[in-house]
């Protein structure tokens, strides 16, 4: 046994083994082509499946992050236990401190408060979000949800969701009064014109938020030069620790910096859940791929029992024979893997603009839900299918090869 193994190992590294294996493959071009196609289609499809699954998960996070949250947010410490207006940061000072930040793709100051939005016909409690129209776009896509009108194009304008517009019974150009208790405790208010009506992906944003220009919000709540939140876009979604540390350092103590995962634990959970379910799903495709590869390899090796018998009969050492068969398979599968990667990434590239999902659900767009599913390839995703393909190839050729050489040559010849 040990000798056979040593012979097998020696054979694997001998040039003649490879030469014989390659010649074997060349002699049966059609059979080789079938195995190659099986591997390529299986592996390529698996890559596409994984990219689609991750695309969905990434898009869920992306939608939430880019809608409003941002990758990171900074607030005055203790902000979670107080009313939004209680915990504030100094605007100019914070922005100056961040001006040299290198880990950030963008940041936007915001002011949050509560108000009663009033029209002649209705009044609705709302969350006020004051934004800097220039900077906000570097973090969120709020303005892209605009459905009607313009986006905070002038002072004393506001943008509201279609749901809030319906509840207040107002349209673009109409007046909405925001009655608030300002930071001094005074009940006060101001009238704003509806500049734009947006359709947002979340019900809360759609029905209970009024977006103002930051300076208008600061005047309304009597907190000139102060903000309640800084939202950040990181350069890379996956790497938030470096920008978090940088922001924390720049803003100094007394400021709490949190990632979107900490700010939206529910979303984080949903994504993790979808990810786990995704793995179960493509485990099925993994198995199907492995089975497809194993099946053609098994068949091709088993059908060659006669040929193997002839070679053994003329004095080929069995271990060497096994090495040749295994080498053939591995070479074939390696070629298939290469073709599979090419095929998979070609499909992913072809789908880079996303698959239109609107056919699956009427009116998804009306709710502001992204209706395109875009595959996203992760570098980490290539290893698992690669390993499955190679291991399957080894096992699916080793076993029938061993079986073939154990059969005595005469029997093999007779059988064929």
């Amino acid at each position: 046994m040990a000798r056979a193994l040593a012979e097998f190992a020696r054979s694997l590294v001998r040039a003649s083994t490879w030469r014989l294996a390659l010649r074997g493959l060349g002699r049966q071009p059609r059979r080789s082509a079938i195995v190659l196609v099986a591997v390529a289609i299986g592996l390529g499809s698996l890559l596409v499946a994984m990219a689609l699954q991750y695309g969905l998960v990434a898009q869920m996070a992306e939608t939430a992050i880019r809608t409003e949250i941002g990758d990171l947010q900074a607030h005055a410490a203790g902000w979670k236990d107080t009313a939004p207006l209680e915990a504030r940061l100094l605007e100019a000072e914070s922005l100056a401190a961040l001006s040299r930040a290198r880990e950030l793709a963008g940041f936007a100051p915001r002011l949050r408060g509560e108000a009663l939005a009033q029209s002649p016909l209705a009044s609705v409690g709302v969350r006020v979000l004051g934004v800097d129209p220039e900077r906000e776009g570097s973090v969120s896509t709020l303005s892209s949800f605009l459905h009607e009108g313009a986006w905070l194009d002038a002072p004393r304008r506001l943008a509201i969701g279609a749901g809030l517009a319906r509840r207040l019974r107002v349209a673009v150009g109409d007046k909405v009064v925001l009655a608030v208790q300002d930071v001094r405790g005074d009940l006060t208010g101001e009238a704003f014109r509806v500049a734009g009506i947006y359709r947002a992906p979340s019900r809360e944003l759609d029905e209970a938020v009024a977006i103002l220009r930051l300076d208008d919000a600061q005047r309304l709540f009597a907190v000139a030069g102060e903000i309640s939140e800084l939202a950040f876009a990181a350069r890379e979604r996956g790497a938030l620790e470096a920008p978090r540390a940088e922001v924390a350092r720049a803003l100094g103590p007394g400021v709490r910096v949190e990632t979107w995962r900490e700010l939206e634990p529910m979303l984080d959970t949903m994504i993790a859940l979808f990810d786990q379910i995704g793995w179960v799903m493509y485990a099925a495709i993994f198995v199907a791929m492995a089975f497809g590869i194993a099946n053609v390899l098994l068949m091709s090796v088993l059908e060659r029992a006669r040929e193997i018998g002839v070679l053994l009969a003329i004095g080929m050492p069995p271990a060497r024979m096994v090495a040749i068969v295994v080498t053939e398979s591995v070479v074939l599968v390696a070629l298939g893997v290469a073709a599979g990667f090419a095929f998979g990434f070609a499909v992913i590239f072809a789908l880079r603009d996303g698959i239109d999902l609107s056919a699956f659900g009427d009116g998804l767009r009306a709710f502001g839900v992204p209706t395109r599913l875009t595959p996203v390839a992760r570098s980490g995703d290539v290893w698992a299918p690669l390993a499955v393909a190679v291991v399957t190839a080894l096992l699916a050729s080793l076993w029938p090869a061993l079986r073939a050489v154990r059969t005595r040559p005469a029997e093999a010849l007779r059988k064929a």
């Binding site: 509560e114 029209s119 002649p120 925001l178 009655a179 005074d186 009940l187 101001e190 009238a191």
Partner: protein, 262 residues
């Protein structure tokens, strides 16, 4: 009470002008529309006022109008006010104390004090068409509007009436498009206010009547607010007593007074 009236002004008024203008006579050179508005404001203004009034709320939800009698002490200069409910019996003793910027409410039935949060201060007060905010708003409403003469109506409920228009300034916290006010040319007191949205639809009508002399001013003792967009709703107020420029005991605006049993 001044606040309630002011609120009426503050949050709203206006006239189907074009149609009405035809029936109106040209305005006199004096006083100016602004001066008239100041007069109206002055009717209600007082540094320290005491009010005893009964409010009736009519609503399709109620089998019969609900009546609430209350007394209020309003110390404008001190930014504080106090209201106590006398009727109905079930709410008797319920009291509100406003000490800027907070509002507390005492509920005798359960013997508890509640600090009313801002969100609730902006809600309807005691189910009326007025809000808590109307009770506690401090600022003058005069500067929220531009004022303009529409003319003189020769026979408004049988008497001459000045008709002026209030147009909210851009940004002023007023939901209305405009308010049209009828003013008694002699008493210089408001008779009627109509509230329009920006599209020109009339949404509310407030009428004031029952004028009686209080000190040197004519004060309306009957008010009614009719929201036209809510059929079957009406809020009216009967003033039982009103006194201006009172000298208030500081004891009134205390938590002890809030929880006092009569």
């Amino acid at each position: 009470m001044r606040r309630l009236a002011a609120l009426g002004l503050a949050t709203a008024f206006a006239a189907a002008a074009a149609a009405q203008d035809a029936r109106l006579e040209p305005p006199p050179a004096q006083p100016s529309a602004r001066a008239l508005a100041e007069q109206v404001e002055a009717t209600f203004r007082g540094e320290a006022s005491f009010l005893d009034a009964t409010m009736s709320v009519t609503s399709p939800r109620l089998p019969a109008p609900r009546r609430v009698r209350f007394q209020s002490w309003d110390d404008r200069g001190g930014k504080r006010s106090f209201i106590r409910i006398l009727e109905p019996a079930k709410d008797r003793g319920t009291a509100f104390l406003k000490l800027h910027p907070n509002l507390w409410s005492w509920v005798p039935r359960v013997e508890r004090t509640i600090r009313v949060p801002p969100s609730m201060m902006l809600q309807s007060w005691m189910g009326s068409d007025f809000t808590n905010d109307d009770l506690v708003r401090e600022s003058s409403v005069l500067d929220d509007y531009d004022h303009r003469w529409l003319g003189v109506e020769p026979s408004h409920q049988g008497a001459r009436a000045f008709v002026i228009e209030y147009r909210p300034r851009e940004g002023a916290p007023v939901v209305w498009g405009r308010i049209v006010a009828w003013i008694d040319p002699v008493k210089l007191a408001p008779l009627r206010q109509e509230y329009y949205d920006e599209a020109g639809v009339k949404l509310r009508v407030m009428t004031l009547g029952g004028f009686r002399a209080v000190g040197d001013r004519q004060y309306p003792h009957h008010w009614s607010m009719l929201p036209l967009d809510k059929p079957g709703h009406e809020t009216s107020i009967e003033v039982n007593a009103i006194r201006f420029d009172e000298k208030f005991d500081a004891e009134i605006f205390t938590h002890r007074n809030l929880t006092r049993r009569e």
